[in-house]
Symmetry: C2
Subunit: 893 residues, 2 copies
Amino acid sequence: MATATAKKKKRTNKVKMTYCWGSLKTEGDATQKQLLGGKGANLAEMTSIGLPVPSGFTIPTTMCEAYYKEGSKMPAGLNDATIKAIKQLEKETGKKFGSKTDPLLVSVRSGAAVSMPGMMDTVLNLGLTDDAVQGMIELTGNERFGWDAYRRLINMFGDVVMGMEHESFEKEFEKVKSKHGVKLDTELSAKGLKEVCDRYKKVYRRKVGSDFPQDPIKQLTLSVEAVFRSWNTHRAKSYRQINDITGLRGTAVNVQTMVFGNMGTDCGTGVAFTRNPSTGEDKFFGEFLIDAQGEDVVAGIRTPKPVSEMKKWNNRIFNELLKVKKTLEKHYSDMQDIEFTIEKGKLWMLQTRTGKRTAAAAVKLAVDMVRSRMINKDEALLRIPAGDLVQLLLPSFTAKSKHKVKMLARGLPASPGAATGTLAFSADDAVKRAEAGENVLLVRKETSPEDIDGMHHAVGILTSTGGMTSHAAVVARGWGKCCVAGAAALHIDAAAKRVTIDGKKYTEKSVLSIDGGTGEVMLGAVERHEPKLSSDFDTIMKWADQRRRMNVRTNADSPTDAKRAREFGAEGIGLTRTEHMFFEGDRILAMRRMILAETKGKREEALARLMPYQRDDFIGIFTAMKGLPVTVRLLDPPLHEFLPHDHAGQKEVAATMGIKPSRVKHRVEQLHEFNPMLGHRGCRLAVTYPEILVMQVTAITEAVIACKRKRIDARPEIMIPLVGIEEELEQLRALAANTMMTIAKKERFKGKLNIPIGTMIEIPRAALVAEQIAEVADFFSFGTNDLTQLTYGFSRDDINSFLPHYLEDGILERDPFQTIDRDGVGRLVEMGCEGGRKTNPKLKIGICGEHGGDPSSVEFCHGVGLDYVSCSPFRVPTARLAAAQASIKENIK
Amino acid sequence: MATATAKKKKRTNKVKMTYCWGSLKTEGDATQKQLLGGKGANLAEMTSIGLPVPSGFTIPTTMCEAYYKEGSKMPAGLNDATIKAIKQLEKETGKKFGSKTDPLLVSVRSGAAVSMPGMMDTVLNLGLTDDAVQGMIELTGNERFGWDAYRRLINMFGDVVMGMEHESFEKEFEKVKSKHGVKLDTELSAKGLKEVCDRYKKVYRRKVGSDFPQDPIKQLTLSVEAVFRSWNTHRAKSYRQINDITGLRGTAVNVQTMVFGNMGTDCGTGVAFTRNPSTGEDKFFGEFLIDAQGEDVVAGIRTPKPVSEMKKWNNRIFNELLKVKKTLEKHYSDMQDIEFTIEKGKLWMLQTRTGKRTAAAAVKLAVDMVRSRMINKDEALLRIPAGDLVQLLLPSFTAKSKHKVKMLARGLPASPGAATGTLAFSADDAVKRAEAGENVLLVRKETSPEDIDGMHHAVGILTSTGGMTSHAAVVARGWGKCCVAGAAALHIDAAAKRVTIDGKKYTEKSVLSIDGGTGEVMLGAVERHEPKLSSDFDTIMKWADQRRRMNVRTNADSPTDAKRAREFGAEGIGLTRTEHMFFEGDRILAMRRMILAETKGKREEALARLMPYQRDDFIGIFTAMKGLPVTVRLLDPPLHEFLPHDHAGQKEVAATMGIKPSRVKHRVEQLHEFNPMLGHRGCRLAVTYPEILVMQVTAITEAVIACKRKRIDARPEIMIPLVGIEEELEQLRALAANTMMTIAKKERFKGKLNIPIGTMIEIPRAALVAEQIAEVADFFSFGTNDLTQLTYGFSRDDINSFLPHYLEDGILERDPFQTIDRDGVGRLVEMGCEGGRKTNPKLKIGICGEHGGDPSSVEFCHGVGLDYVSCSPFRVPTARLAAAQASIKENIK
């Protein structure tokens, strides 16, 4: 046993368990984010470059990882290492933990490699005990301050570390206030606050079963463990999942000497961005509160003042802050999000990190910084989250329409965009109603991490307190979701499900509109218009286009969509779904006649009626995309989708067709499938009803000939869906080629048709036998929606019963329908590319699943050597940028 | 153009277009079956070893291949080559094509590398013209014979080569017969037959639009093309598909000098097997007809005599034939199926080929031939079609039960087995009713290749004419399907859908039983008993077990099945489906209670009721399989399968449960899935309802403990189904292991449980990420049913709408659910094995899909290195033999 323990000690001793920063010694730097977390790494970095940072130390993320590896147990040796680090901190500060004369107080904060605002728990004023509070009072000469700090610690420690309910403390506080006849917290005397402390300790003992710890080391070690625990709470996991944060080891713990912004009116605290995070404008941008602790700003409890007003309060500090701002931007070459505290006229920096920004700001910042030579073009491109560009393409309200509606209130323009919806007063309610298809605005006094899900489901977020850096604002901006914060005119009664504005009540059924760019709250729906793109956007897109190797196409089924996508920079259509063309007006009648036909002859008759519609659709699309390729997918869905499944519908169809309802019903039953996803669709239809393919190819060929005769450069590519066997494509290709020849002859067309014929790779087998299929294909287009369904054996329509569990339990890190699964589906894509190019080196390869507009998936596509990605029109700029980023990253590697 | 033609000529000239055999020159041998077809190769071989074979030549299969490659056009140069070969034949025989004095007559027969009895068209007496018939009459001095041969040629040529209907000729023949006042064909005079010829030629001219060709070369070249065409008729393709014949180039064409068995009573024709093809007994076995042409025997038009009776007719010829039999068996080291003709007292051999045999015969022959040192054990094992062994395990009627039923008729014991069914009078009807789930006997006067499908679907075949070598008999024996042939007492009226036996009528609804081992036809259903296996069978199985590397397990869900499979040699259970255990009696109630429970607590309550049932089932199975592994698959199907979907059923369930019907309905709706195959099932159930897994693992663990306490060596393996993601298995494995520990503790069990935990590989992704999954798996079992569904994107329940098309059009060579698709599904299996063993070299790997009992798939499994295959109990001997054959073949390579 002794040997085992010795071994264990030896092993754990190797690991460095704390990293300190301070004037005497600093052990970390900004490059060590994975190990120290973003906060810890940057605190060390700021210290190194001479900024005023209260000293402290970081317990690295590896310790959190070890904590979970050992079944939620504190790693052996960590407590000893912490005590050692505290000793060093005492040396740095000259203070003593628990001292009656000059006590060392620290904050304990979480800090992962990726910023997760408001997600992790924090303990402030740690180190206060019955003894130390006396020391604190002696030191500051401020009795009220001492007891206030102590009662905050007991409350926070009980709440965050021991899992007590905030309310138990709140009640006692209210009792003391009413006993002393005061209303505001700040009105309570030192004596009153001391009484609060006494009551808090009793509550603590009652709920926890032991006394509030009088040993600061015990307070610290328990707090460190609480931070570790907070890493795996439901809300933290949910945040990571929604924000697609994966691959982290855990959170680091930062233990830092306390500085106080709440020691009086020469104290304050604030958060700021070195530039405007909403517009990107190069203007110092932030908020501060006098006589307050940092959490007060972030939590949105008090509404803070703009940082520009600091000048009036303390010009020296303001100028010092501006200097810090410049130093940081220069040092980091990026816009920073900082936290600071002023303690009795001295500025302390508590945090710096890369500032979150809107897409518009990201674009402007990137271009501005290239112009001022802070960064190069590649850096600029890498810095813009490609997925966020969608925001820039989102609609905003028209000024004209705004004038027509009633303005109810104005809040802070927390996150741009324009949203109209009915009101949801709880996150749960928002989720439920949004899932039922309703557009809801989430209306809350303030939001907290528990509301994440509801915020995600809402079309917009409206809060009555909190500022531009409140939880609601930061989270909404990250998502590009419209948010108006701190609209103080709103009086929200969440339990009664209503909000009162100017004495008027608005309920769940009321429709409001919010403008995230102006902060306006309006009654009723407001007309919106298409967004205008900045010249900076064009610049970024130009740079991206210069850098990317892959082409970007779009998925579009109509000339309108095609035209818009072309404006967004689409270099062709990667997927035109022809089935949509069968639903409009008379077409569905002809389609149904075809499906109900009992002979090939009758089917051909019905198809002949459909042909001209389809031909004219193609002429429209080919004209809109002239000079660019247009991939036309032949009929894909099972035929039963075109027939009504209910009795009334069938009766109606029968009446229109002049046949018996029983025949319609019979046909519907005949077409019924247990698993339509795996049924009679795609090229299987063309094998059994070749006349459908013949009609579609006829329409395409006639459209091309019509275009060419009008000197329109039509460039269709025929895509045969759902191929899993070489012979399917071989036979259908021959039939299509034959049809083209027949039509060309009939039309006496002498030119070259030049219509490539290819297939979607969406059946796993197609990827596995790509070598064979490529021999008879001019191109492959990966249909990763179906490929993901089949590779996982997941039906997209049915996964709701278990997918949420899977994401929550960490069985899946991401929804594989949003971001391509590289290990499984991705491997098939790789095999498909390799196999295909082996037998057909000229094979053109693209992707047309929804992954084509997801940046991570686009990067994957670049890596496996695809020629193009195709995505929905609004995603085209995202895909262009993501493709450029993939090229750049490849060169960095 | 001239150059192109020259080039083409040059290319085609390289190819040898005919291979002759005869006393002057023989160009082929028995090894050249792929090129010359089985018939042609063996005719050449027989000639070489000195047997009496009418000389002739073969147009090789490469010409048929070329014919189709050139779009159904006769290969350039083939007609010239044919003329040249005819010249050589004229030299051999001294006869002249079309001669008025000594005309050369030939037969034209198809012959592929694999025997396809009755599938390909044949023309006899070719070379007869208005001139040549005179020569024939002169030569034979038999006017009647000449005109009879000529009318046969015109009929056959019109029918087979020109596609005329047989009836057009038949009518004319009937008219002449009635005009001449005769009933039988043989009664018609030479004059009458001449008149028939004249009428036939008129019919020919009317239907074809030109005269019956008077140029023998034209007759020949048209016939050769007809043989080529016959290769791709629907019936030929269908035969190849059913018999799994793939990879052939086409058919060869054999042109052979005619010999006549119908020139008088010193003539005859027959077919025979060198040993009994039904039992394997070493006894010459066959049938012959006096004064008849060969087709008469095979077609079953006249009922022939046993070959043993030949002795009485012509002892010299009989002895000569016995000598030929011995020569052939010695030369080929195998049982032969021969055709012969006696022309005016001279024996001519027309064919020899390896004789088709029943499984029982194959086993006996193989063992006998090893004992007489004709072949070695490996050859013996390779010679038995592994799939046929199932026949030996099929039931037969009990003698006792037979005595109780009424014997209606007796036919020939054409193919062993015992079948009971209602009567179908057409192949179509048999197919339709069999597909609806009815057991039907196909009752026909005689069968023809058009009936293949119906024969395949029927449980047994009963004919009123035809012998042991008739179409029905040969085909049925090949399949191991019960067949009674030539039951002359039956008077079948197919149009009226009835059969009259002894004046009593039997309709579609009548139930008959037929005994293929005795030829009995009985009224009503007859009790059957399990087959008794011969000691030869045991010998073969013993040899196979010595040779195979793979283990063979069985799929069994009950102690009874398990026991039987063990008797068939199963070395464990590869798949126990636990869901079947939830349907019996009260269990379904508890199961439904579980599904309808609204809380985890209620679910656990219901599960607690199910646990004892499941535990006792396991005790039964573990006991039956003591000492052998039993792989238990945890619950797999979606929960809705356990609830009724109709209103009445739901109402009943609600009443039993004491809840509202609407709640049942609601739950059914909640559980409804668009694609249940891709839905909430398999391990996804265990992730969302872990308590189900806990209950099942509890039952397994308690069963093991109960067994071990009774000193029964229980060896379960827990299989978690439908895993596609490593984390699924990781989490569920931990839960299962934890449950085992808890139960062991609760039961105070101190021994080792030793229960491996593994997974099915049935999701494509599982095969792709096998490296990851294997890290947390003790074993893999390929579930190739689902793997095939997902790899192809085919739902087994829905493929009937297109799969028949796919097989017919040659898009698929085989049903991938019957024989594993090596290119696609097989590649995933390979990847799964490789990946799995990479990270877990000890990984045990098996297969438990239906492919586990298919010989070709078993060979594949051997090749990729699986440890075992698991199949249905009756397939176990097949798998054992197939596994041995795979080992042997591997060594040959």
